[in-house]
């Protein structure tokens, strides 16, 4: 099996998920949904429990792994769509989307083709590709962010409200990307505020209550 995750954080939250699933984390504002994703990505260090991810044929505990291991997991196994794009200014959108592919060793011509396909699917007009996203609209920046995360097709993807800044057309483009990822056997764990998006992509709900209450 590829792309399994096991974790118990945030007051003994336990979640086990496997390839081909799309788990939607649900809960009120402040319940800890984003915190949970950040603990899985090892952006925050879980104080107790473990976050075990299938990686290179073994299991890595993201809560305890060495920085280098965490980086290796992020490079080859786990992608993350943050709510905002954070990049070096002056780097063209196309290069931003290509970067994770190049880092994982994809040949440049293939990386370029894959990046172009994604930007196209996310309705970023080609005149914007050679431009740095600093002057793009919020929704355009977010779509570059999504393209970058989906480009390397990681076995595990974490999504924190990926469609929050998007209109109907682009929301459905993202829904299609998520479905494609699931079909090729990826595991997705996400926070989807938009009900129609959640219904369209989730294979199961994972309710999270504010800490204090039992999960």
């Amino acid at each position: 099996m590829q792309g399994g995750v096991n974790l118990s954080v945030l007051d003994a939250v336990t979640l086990a998920a496997s390839a081909g699933e799309c788990v939607a984390i649900a809960g009120s504002s402040g319940a800890g949904k984003s915190t949970l994703l950040k603990c899985i990505y090892a952006n925050y260090r879980a104080q107790a429990g473990s976050v075990c991810v299938r990686h290179r044929g073994g299991w890595v505990d993201m809560a305890r792994a060495q920085p280098r291991e965490v980086l290796d997991v992020r490079r080859y196994t786990m992608g993350y769509v943050s709510q905002f794009l954070r990049v070096i200014p002056r780097v063209p959108a196309l290069n931003i989307v290509m970067a994770p592919l190049l880092a994982a060793g994809t040949e440049p011509t293939m990386a370029r083709a894959r990046a172009q396909t994604l930007l196209e699917r996310l309705n970023i007009p080609s005149r914007l590709w050679p431009l740095p996203p600093a002057t793009f609209s919020g929704g355009e920046q977010q779509r570059v962010n999504i393209a970058r995360a989906f480009a390397p097709q990681p076995p595990v993807m974490l999504l924190d409200e990926p469609t929050a800044a998007l209109d109907e057309v682009n929301r459905s483009a993202v829904v299609d990307l998520i479905r494609d990822a699931r079909r090729r056997g990826a595991l997705l764990v996400g926070i989807f505020h938009d009900h129609s998006v959640r219904t369209a992509v989730a294979t199961r709900l994972f309710p999270l209550r504010p800490s204090g209450a039992s999960a």
């Binding site: 952006n43 920085p67 280098r68 291991e69 965490v70 980086l71 954070r86 200014p89």
Partner: protein, 258 residues
């Protein structure tokens, strides 16, 4: 994943007289990795960088470097000549003050070419062409290739110093505040250049910076110094988003939003 570190720093310490400028510093750096060193003024960052790059002999600890041949060199145990060879071939050093890293008695082009000649380049035409290419990369006007660096502004000198150090394709670059004093547009160009060199050519770097945004965009890992001690170290995004030490929390919360 199973490769060995390029640089290993073990329990390093240095004192100016009786005042410890840095103490108990331990970390390693793997090929292709970028480490940022952050911390307040006077916390010992420059001292640390000089100790690990063969310029200032530490009072305590060891610095191990893996050479091109795959051998481990104990930087402060090998001969002066071997250390100088490493400085010329495997390392680059960008000084906090560009004047410390440039020769003011020769032209800008010669400053870049000198490092190439040190590693064996001989054909004048090639050297000049390389120098021009590097001036272009850091957005210096190539028409000024024959000017003295003294005629350059501070930010231009900084970029010249960076070209001079990277032209010879070192495996490890030590940089002390490389983007300080540059306007934001040039700074962005430089960050992109450095990122390209590390991700595409496998350059490793230790970068001292007071700018947390630079650390975030460039460094895989970040080491936080306070009063000569390492108070926190880890993945850059962990250190900046989930700081554990009170000093790091203060540092992060005092920074202007990136």
């Amino acid at each position: 994943m199973d490769e060995s570190p390029l640089l290993e720093v073990q329990e390093l310490g240095y004192s100016y007289g009786t005042r410890a400028a840095c103490a108990g510093i331990t970390f390693d750096l793997y090929p292709g990795e970028v480490l940022a060193v952050v911390g307040e003024s006077g916390s010992g960052k420059t001292t640390l960088l000089r100790c690990i790059s063969g310029q200032l002999r530490p009072d305590e600890g060891r610095v191990l470097f893996q050479t091109r041949a795959g051998e481990i060199a104990d930087v402060w145990a090998v001969s002066e000549a071997s250390r100088r060879l490493l400085t010329r071939t495997d390392w680059g050093f960008v000084h906090q003050n560009p004047r410390d890293g440039l020769r003011t008695d020769v032209s800008a082009g010669a400053n870049i070419g000198e490092r190439l000649m040190a590693i064996g380049a001989r054909r004048y035409g090639n050297i000049r062409q390389e120098a021009t290419a590097w001036m272009y990369k850091v957005e210096l006007d190539a028409a000024r290739i024959d000017d003295s660096p003294q005629a350059f502004s501070g930010g231009m000198q900084q970029r010249l110093q960076i070209s001079r150090n990277l032209v010879s394709q070192p495996r490890l670059a030590f940089m002390d505040e490389p983007t300080a004093g540059l306007d934001v547009s040039v700074q962005a160009r430089l960050l992109d250049l450095l990122r390209g060199l590390t991700s595409d050519l496998g350059l490793s770097a230790v970068i001292v910076t007071h700018d947390l945004a630079v650390a975030r965009l460039l460094a895989h890992r970040t080491l936080v110094m306070q009063a000569g001690r390492m108070v926190e170290a880890g993945l850059t995004d962990q250190v900046l988003d989930d700081p554990q030490h009170a000093y790091t929390q203060l540092l992060v919360s005092s920074a202007l939003p990136a």
